[in-house]
Symmetry: C2
Subunit: 322 residues, 2 copies
Amino acid sequence: MKPKISDVAKVAGVSPTTVSRVLNNRGYIGEKTRQKVDEAMKQLNYFPNDVARSLFIKKTFLIGVIFPTTTNPFYGQLIFHIENIAASLGYKILLCNSQGQEDKERSYLRMLQRNQVDGIIAGAHNRGVKEYDIPTLPVVGVDRYLSENIPVVSSDNYDGGRQATQLLINKGCRNIIHINGPIYLETPANLRRKAYEDVMKDNQLPPITYETDGDNQAVIKQLFDENPRVDSIFASDDLIASAVIREAKLRKRNIPSDFKVIGYDGTETTRLLLPELSTIQQPIREIAEKTIDILTKEINEEGDRSQMETILPVRLIESETT
Amino acid sequence: MKPKISDVAKVAGVSPTTVSRVLNNRGYIGEKTRQKVDEAMKQLNYFPNDVARSLFIKKTFLIGVIFPTTTNPFYGQLIFHIENIAASLGYKILLCNSQGQEDKERSYLRMLQRNQVDGIIAGAHNRGVKEYDIPTLPVVGVDRYLSENIPVVSSDNYDGGRQATQLLINKGCRNIIHINGPIYLETPANLRRKAYEDVMKDNQLPPITYETDGDNQAVIKQLFDENPRVDSIFASDDLIASAVIREAKLRKRNIPSDFKVIGYDGTETTRLLLPELSTIQQPIREIAEKTIDILTKEINEEGDRSQMETILPVRLIESETT
DNA sequence: TTGTATGCGTTATCAG
DNA sequence: CTGATAACGCATACAA
């Protein structure tokens, strides 16, 4: 069926070893021999079997990538860059959508190990998934503390939260409310909230935070009902910000004169679909680059302990909702 | 390092074959033996090496997935569902972002073959990539004709185009312009344009189509400049529609009273970020389901030739831009 | 019910 | 410069 090295060898009239040598450019090969082999390979439309090769060299060039879902624009864009950079280095991506479910995450982890991936990049994390501590397998977390000794790459969530809150204050807002996702995840993203609270307190303003656990719309309605005098919102991502804008409009709030909103993430998709949204833009490409840089160094055992936590700068995009 | 079957066998005091039997639940195994083996596996934290297993059984449970980019919300969501369904069937996804580049696509194709994937799902296609005709490898196209004998799954692009155009006409529009992506791709999506033209002609209206090749904003400006009396636009995707709305607002057009826009795709992300956009929603989940259904049948050699082209119904979402 | 021998396709070692 | 042989970890046919 599929030709193998020995088939090529037969056609070329040489030994399998020689074919392998040509294939990998290893050792001395006679020019004539090389040509014969090349021809035979072309004739048979031969290409090597990486499964067999992987078995032997104990390396798959596979990287497992676990995030909640490619549907989310932030993860979609992040995964795009990860795949892209990985491909340029000869690595391939095994994609896992954990959907925030602990059991899925665990079973993906098992699956990736069975498949002998060279490393794992994970941005999904449910408390209690200790399985990330795999002594023999390089892992890098994105925006998530996975374990004591797993490096994390994230953007400067504290500074992002600070800039967002400060902007609203500078614009004259006083009743600023923060909305974010579930706080129980041990994620650097919680620093956004911390920064919000710090800045508010520094300005003698009372911080109020609402947490949404999926049903944004309901939480936002409640927020408006309970806080009729709210004059601005700092949302922990652009999707939530969009829902806030929607609700504010329904309530006849005038944006930005009467009511201001700032989001978080600043993905390409958000910029295209909702360009009027002011937001804190994460350096997604740089996050991907740094993550892969650290991971590949660990894979090649050049990991130094100096990069346990990498924090990349964010950028404020002031548009029309502030 | 990593324990293998023979290590487990030693600890359990049985032969490797027996361990393999326990692992795969094949043949008769004594209850005591099974327990000993199970314990040994737990003790050593053993898990099987799927690379070795794949080499032997000549099946990897890997599916290669090639699309332009996970950054695009449509592909992001589609890939999410593909991965999700595939995982439930024991298949894993090797992710490829072709970015619409022919050479990347070709090299991904080679890579996937070297990795012995069981099948390929592709929605990327540049004219002239003949490499999809792989006699021994099941391939299914999504919204793209890849080759004569490769099944295609898509939504009803003609009906979508028809509904969109008809809606605008019903709402009283007469100067309706269509914008879409590069037409030279042989894709069922071109049927959207065909439907637009047919409906326009049926109503004695002149069809006008603009093609964008990436720089949406420039094309849209040109469109408005050249057609000051345009009263509505049918955009071939929601991203373009969003840019149209933006430009229309800049030109002080009142939506929807004075100017109407309808998009295409209706992804979750669009619905969240731009809920006011009227659009034709593609059944993304169903596309993923059908695609995997056909692919797995081909993989298991149960493929019937009756499913060479599958067309799934679309749904009109009337919101506030029409 | 369990064990032995063999091969999946590749590459490294070592001999020629 | 080239070839024979073994081994990567696993699962099957065949024996016991």
